[in-house]
């Protein structure tokens, strides 16, 4: 079968690989019909995540058709169309039982700090991912969710990660009615977080990025304010001023370790790897939230450590809430929102690329060429 194949930082190709096998009674094999490239994949692509091995197939955002099931699988049948959450989750450990499907303790032997994630390095479990024609899906009775008849498959594929992550970013913000919410990052996740902030009753939503085309998009799509940090001397000062010198009630970091905007952070975090990615957006979030405010982090950082103004977290009494999204927990609510027209995820898809051209798709998304917001990959077997 054809699959994306990682060869090293900034180098990927489509190549043939053996068809995946059922390795556990709870497994299913899914024939992928669509997969996305995510901002999280860029951290791997840029070589920022330790234990990213050559030959691995990335891809944690995919949907498809159940092709084969293991002996204990009961909730899925061959032929079902399924949304596969990006988290590999067992459903029975203490964490899954309490709704923390992003923190499963039975899906990743290689690290305890992060649960299993499809196609996301060996630090997240060593699973080959869904940027392929077929993929092995463990715990098939737990994560995969049947795509409702009425749902557009372009919406369905965004339910595997982007929509739940944006939603959870807003949820973790503990937004009170009327709150001013600042979202750092106008990528797919930040766009969704801005859109969802309104669902929690935000009074004002502000998005910060430096790519004009994304700012234009989010301004329309999420009906919010959007500003370019390159046009400000100091984004923190800008936010203080625009909140009557009080600070934002809630700040959301939807950027993570690939942040730009501070040369010192970029050099130490992305070039020298002295820290686990550059923490520019998180730094701004901590410093522009009000005293007693909440900083919600969904941006992904590496596992070592980062330079952040922790002293200000203490002095300002900030609450930090963060996690990998718990996709399975949120799916029922989000499916409702889509059906009711409150969320329209597929509007963020800008590029549809054949899996054979995966190298171009990565480069376009990484270098932000051709006004790219969200690229999806279509395997050859899904185009027949």
């Amino acid at each position: 079968m054809l699959a994306m194949n990682y060869r090293g930082p900034f180098r990927v190709r489509a190549a043939h690989k053996p068809y995946p096998e059922i390795l556990h009674p709870g497994d299913a094999i899914v024939r992928v019909t669509r997969s996305c490239i995510c901002g999280s994949d860029l951290h791997l692509y840029h070589g920022l995540v330790p234990d990213t091995r050559v030959g691995m197939t990335f891809g944690h955002e995919f949907i498809g058709v159940v092709e084969e099931i293991g002996s204990s699988v009961q909730k899925l049948a061959v032929g079902d169309n399924v949304i596969v959450p990006f988290n590999v989750a067992c459903g029975t450990c203490a964490f899954c039982k309490q709704g923390l499907f992003g923190n499963c303790h039975e899906s990743n032997p290689q690290a305890t700090a992060v649960g299993g994630i499809f196609g996301y390095s060996h630090t997240a479990g060593g699973y080959d991912g869904g940027q392929a024609e077929f993929v092995r899906v463990p715990y098939a009775d737990v994560g995969p969710t049947i795509i409702p008849e009425w749902m557009d498959h372009d919406d369905a594929v965004l339910l595997t990660d982007v929509v739940p992550t944006g939603y959870q970013a807003a949820e973790m913000g503990g937004i009170k009615t009327g709150d001013t919410v600042v979202v750092f990052g106008a990528g797919p996740v930040g766009i969704m977080a801005a859109k969802c902030a309104w669902l929690f009753g935000a009074g004002r939503v502000i998005v910060i990025d430096h790519l004009e085309y994304r700012l234009d998009f989010v301004r329309n799509y999420a009906q919010c304010e959007a500003y370019n940090f390159r046009s400000m001397e100091d984004p923190v000062l800008f936010i203080k001023k625009t909140t009557d010198w009080f600070g934002a009630d809630v700040c959301i970091d939807a950027v993570g370790g690939d942040a730009s905007g501070s040369p010192l952070q970029t050099i130490t975090g992305k070039k020298l790897l002295l820290q686990a990615g550059s923490a520019t957006a998180l730094h701004w979030a901590i410093n522009s939230v009000k005293k007693g405010g909440i900083v919600s982090i969904v941006g992904v950082y590496g596992p070592t450590d980062n330079l952040v103004p922790i002293g200000n977290v203490v002095n300002k009494g900030i609450t930090i809430r963060a996690n990998q999204a718990s996709v399975k927990r949120l799916l029922p609510r989000l499916i409702d929102h889509i059906q009711a027209g409150r969320l329209d995820p597929k509007a963020i898809i800008t590029h549809r690329v054949p899996l054979e051209e995966v190298a171009d798709a990565y480069h376009i998304f990484s270098a932000k060429l051709d006004n790219c917001i969200k690229p999806i990959l279509i395997p050859p077997s899904a185009r027949k």
Binding site: P50, P109, Q110, A359
Partner: protein
């Protein structure tokens, strides 16, 4: 607190201000008390180990399932095995892994050549997309490439000339 459990009866005021409703992690977490059972949940059936899997030393056993992509091999594999002697809290874990990742890239190229495949690095870097959407950037990259190569040639020639003298 209605009744103080025996093991705490010697502590005056134990649990007096406990407020189960103050659960700041809700709704991210639906607190059930399972945390205090530690890791003693009923485990799913265990996947058979068919390839070498490295295990974090912060846990007692492998997880019930795991990925089997790209098992450790060669020099990078040896470094990865070494890295897993240290916990996730140590630089001794992550820095060797990053080093192994870089060595693995070279191993990947050697593997390709061994299989008679010359990797098309430009295609792998997606430069075709640059030709379409980013010609100025591409031109810059090519110019830098040419400049660096020329400088190298000049340098090597100079050295040669010196040693010929």
């Amino acid at each position: 607190m209605e009744q103080i459990p025996n093991e705490y009866s010697h502590i005056n005021g134990w649990g007096i201000d406990a407020d189960p409703k103050n659960e700041p992690t809700y709704p991210m977490k639906n607190y059930t008390g399972d945390d205090h059972q530690r890791i003693n949940w009923e485990r799913p059936p265990l996947q058979n180990v068919t390839v070498e899997i490295l295990k974090s030393n912060e846990r007692p056993n492998l997880t019930a399932v795991f990925g089997t992509s790209s098992p450790p091999s060669g020099l990078s594999g040896a470094i990865r095995r070494y890295a897993f002697k240290s916990s996730e809290s140590e630089y001794g874990h992550w820095l060797p892994l990053l080093l192994a990742d870089r060595i693995n890239v070279v191993e990947g190229i050697i593997d390709d050549l061994r299989q008679g495949h010359i990797p098309n690095i430009f295609a792998e870097k997606g430069w075709k997309a640059d030709w379409k959407y980013n010609r100025i950037g591409l031109a810059k990259n090519v110019l830098i490439g040419v400049a660096v190569t020329t400088a190298l040639i000049v340098l090597v020639n100079r050295k040669k000339r010196k040693s010929a003298l």
